[in-house]
Amino acid sequence: MAKKISGPRILTANLLGDGLVVFLGKDGSWAPSLESAWLAHSNDDLEQLEALGGEAARSNTIVDPYLVEVEDTGSTLLPVEMRERMRARGPSVNLEFNSKSNGHALVADQAVAG
């Protein structure tokens, strides 16, 4: 049986072209929202995520993939660290320029299947 890890994790990275934040989804694609992120609960899951991240980095889709610990509230995923919450949420200032929809629209345009 796969060994449990301390808390669930998701895989994140930045797109090579835009540099925008993306998360590896359950369907294997990279998307700006963590809501549909692939949740790893065991070491086997982690290994699989890391392998997919490495592959995507080697194929020049994304940059610097890494795992992020999240809290699964049932209805939402919340990164444990403040830094990762900010990455997932986007800037809390300059909203007229940086609204999530703006950023996400840009990402969605270029989201690439993993």
């Binding site: 072209g17 540099g19 980095a57 403040m82 200032v93």
Partner: protein, 551 residues
């Protein structure tokens, strides 16, 4: 202003071509991220929290209108319509796309700008007093020497892989508006007993996790010997700097560990050993560069302008703006206009493309085509006729740039913090906005008087919190932001490092704590005493008592 010669133009243009090729190879996959990272950083391109960030150098903070228009154009065409002016007189774009960056650099090269050496362990953009060349009390314009250092340090093979990044600031005035004591090397032009102008040299200042005030290593150095002496300083650092420990690798640690006396001895010994220390630069080369900074075509004007004087009488808001934001000029009939990029509740240092275009237009029409960027994240129109001040103010008002708060409580320095920066541990901009709104009433601000509040979102101290009269450092503990407060810092000619007053505050209570500190000052100050003067008289205790009794 300095104009690129053929060498400069070729070098910058070739660099754009090189980077275009490197980006193409990266996108194609011929370069890995590990191989590409140092190449992009050498061209000012970071990968930050949410996206790439391009840091463009504004050498010694001087721009012309064409350059400012170009910065606005880049913000519109390649970014999200705004830019962020930084504490190193640079501008940062927060959202460029990698494939666009070579085009951005090409646009910059068209107006003699670039992003080279805005990152990495090299000599960074040399910063200068924003009033250089126009300040009423200045000994001499330091910008020709800043330009000389720019040329000397650009791709200098010996100083391209230093133990850590290296920052130089220069001023030509006794009043220090360039925070020279907080730089790796700080230079001040001054006269010796014989009345000759030379450099007073300070080494080993810095912010970060180990803040230090620079030590004076030379009281006076002939101007012609500047590069030779700097070379000696750099060599001692390059040889003995702590390459084994990133956190101890800045020159301030070397100066501290050796002691200022021993460090100075080693520099002087090295200087004496240089082959031709006094041959760099030649007088002709100095004159060639200095000619670019010759004063512009000032008109012969009277000291007072009747129209301006009448506007001062008729319009209280204008008069208050002049009182706070306009400074004396060395040329009769002219004034220095300081443009606040700190609207109440706004993001410190940000300007929209529309504002940049407007400022460029004003500079062209009413400031002899010059603009300056300040390390306090504001802009300056350095050459405005007093006669034109009212027109400038009206234009600024139209573009929401006429806040009369220079040097007041809402003129806050703030780094991008965790809203943008990959290194940050907490947000700084929202805290600056909260404080700005809380203390924003202009009558209250004027009553409080000179007050420098500076906020950093991590220990690296890009928001200069160590030098804040009230400094705020954002940290994180178990997923929650909290803020440490320091008091008594200063980055001016009486430089001092702020002292931590006690346990930190939550993001919800830190503004209350700052307000309590300000109110405590208002209660205890003597007539005419500024916040810093009061703090230096009474120390931290009354502030601590007030803050920790109520929070």
């Amino acid at each position: 202003m300095y104009r690129y010669d053929e060498f400069d133009a070729t070098f910058v243009s070739e660099r754009v071509d090189q980077f275009r090729d490197q980006v193409a190879r990266r996108v194609k996959g011929d370069l890995t991220e590990e191989q590409f990272r140092p190449l992009r950083l050498m061209n000012g391109l970071y990968l930050q929290l949410h996206a790439y960030m391009l840091r463009v150098a504004v050498p010694y903070g001087t721009l012309n209108s064409k350059q400012m228009h170009k910065l606005a154009y880049i913000a519109d065409k390649f970014d999200r319509g705004y830019g962020h002016f930084t504490t190193r007189q640079n501008i940062q774009y927060n959202w460029p796309k990698l494939p666009d960056v070579p085009d951005i650099l090409e646009h910059l090269a068209e107006v003699e700008m670039h992003a080279i050496q805005t990152s990495g362990n090299c000599i960074r953009n040399v910063t200068a007093d924003q009033w250089s060349g126009v300040a009423a009390d200045e000994v001499e314009d330091p910008r020709p020497y800043a330009e000389l250092m720019r040329q000397w340090s650009s791709l200098h093979p010996e100083f391209s892989f230093l133990p850590r990044k290296f920052k130089i600031a220069v001023t030509g005035d006794k009043a220090d508006r360039a925070a020279i004591a907080y730089h790796d090397i700080g230079l001040r032009l001054k006269k010796n007993a014989a009345g000759e102008v030379g450099f007073e040299i300070f080494v080993g200042g810095g912010m970060g996790r180990t803040p230090m005030i620079a030590a004076r290593v030379r009281d006076w150095l002939p101007k012609s010997e500047l590069l030779g002496y700097l070379e000696a300083v750099m060599r001692v650092y390059n040889l003995n700097g702590r390459r084994d420990n990133k956190y101890k690798a800045r020159i301030k640690i070397l100066v501290h560990e050796l002691g200022a006396e021993e460090f100075t001895r080693q520099v002087e010994e090295e200087y004496a050993r240089l082959d031709a220390p006094q041959g760099l630069p030649s007088d002709q080369e100095l004159e060639r560069i200095a000619a670019y900074f010759a004063p512009p075509a000032y008109e012969d004007l009277a000291e007072n302008d009747a129209v301006h004087t009448q506007h001062l009488v008729d319009n209280k808001d204008f008069a208050e703006w002049v009182e706070r934001n306009v400074a004396p000029h060395k040329i009769t009939g002219y004034a220095i206009v300081n443009i606040s990029l700190k609207p109440v509740g706004g993001v410190p240092g940000d300007a929209t493309s529309g504002q940049m275009h407007a400022i460029a237009d004003m500079a062209e029409k009413m400031s002899l085509d010059e603009i300056r960027v300040t390390h306090e994240q504001n802009l300056v129109l350095p050459n405005v006729r007093k006669h034109d001040l009212f027109a400038v103010w009206q234009e600024l008002k139209e573009h929401k740039l006429a806040d009369a708060n220079l040097g007041l409580a809402t003129d806050i320095i703030s780094c991008p913090g965790l809203d943008y920066c990959g290194l940050a541990t907490a947000r700084s901009i929202p805290i600056s906005q909260d404080i700005s709104i809380r203390l924003g009433d202009i009558k209250r601000q004027r009553d409080i008087g000179d007050l420098k509040i500076k906020i950093s979102g991590c220990i690296n101290a890009c928001g200069h919190h160590h030098a804040g009269h009230i400094g705020i450092l954002g940290l994180e503990k178990r997923g929650v932001e909290y803020y440490q407060i320091t008091l008594g810092g200063s980055g001016d000619e009486t430089a001092s490092i702020g002292q931590i007053i006690g346990p930190g505050f939550s993001s919800e209570t830190v503004t209350d704590a700052v307000e309590t500190i300000v109110d405590t000052y208002m209660d205890l100050r003597k007539s005419g005493e500024t916040f810093l003067e009061a703090y230096r008289r009474v120390g931290a205790e009354p502030f601590k008592e007030a803050v920790y009794a109520t929070h």
